[in-house]
């Protein structure tokens, strides 16, 4: 069976500090990977998605970036955090082929202070 791991669960970072959130998937190969951000009481905003190693599609221009150094590893980064980067970050994966649903990690609550 497949599992997704996302960490850390919570993070408090000062403005201007760097960020690295990691997401890994086990039990499948060549998944589609996604990063979403959810503001308090709001919907999910698609930030990045990837269909393969090194292939990143950016949906929202901002000071975040994503990388996929390995097939089942997806990293969300920032060089300098802004207050507006606070939110609930969710990683998700889907099978690389076929009409399928997404499977989500438990999320990271990021507070920039």
């Amino acid at each position: 069976s497949q599992t997704i791991h996302q960490w850390p669960a919570t993070l408090v970072q000062p403005v201007g500090s760097p960020l690295s959130l990691e997401c890994t998937v086990e039990g499948t190969s060549n998944p589609n990977l996604y990063w979403y951000r959810q503001a308090a009481g709001r919907g999910l905003q698609l930030l990045f998605y990837s269909v393969g190693i090194g292939q990143i599609s950016s949906e929202v221009p901002q000071n975040l970036s994503a990388s996929r150094p390995q097939d089942r590893q997806f990293i969300l980064s920032s060089k300098k955090l802004l207050l507006s980067d606070s939110g609930f970050y969710l990683c998700a994966w889907r099978f690389g082929t076929g009409v399928t649903e997404a499977f989500f990690g438990q999320g990271t609550r990021l507070t920039v202070v």
Partner: protein, 112 residues
């Protein structure tokens, strides 16, 4: 940009009643999916309906899709307090099987 828009934004009902949530979207889709999110947690997939399907059932859930109106509805029958959660629709664009975008969600509260 977000593709789907759920309506209503919030819904409060009594246990045993039915809950109906609607979703509208803007462009052609490959499929539409409904998810549930308990507060502060990740999303859990409920049901997927393809663009060539009109209705789908799963337990107490019934989903309809009207591609001519670009809309979908989720019906939860005989609701329970444990159904209290946020519900989101998500669409996969017709031109791509990769991009999965979500609406803003409906917060459902089921009162015991």
């Amino acid at each position: 940009s977000q593709q789907g828009e759920e309506d209503p934004q919030a819904l409060s009902i009594q246990e045993g009643e039915n809950a109906t949530m609607n979703c509208s979207y803007k462009t052609s889709i490959n499929n539409l999916q409904w998810y549930r999110q308990n507060s502060g947690r990740g999303l859990v997939h409920l049901i997927l309906i393809r663009s060539n399907e009109r209705e789908k059932h799963s337990g107490r859930l019934r989903v309809t899709l009207d591609t001519s109106k670009k809309s979908s509805s989720l019906l939860i029958t005989a609701s329970r307090a444990a159904d209290t959660a946020s519900y989101f629709c998500a669409t996969v664009f017709g031109g791509s099987n990769y991009k999965l975008t979500f609406g803003k969600g409906t917060l459902l509260t089921v009162n015991p």
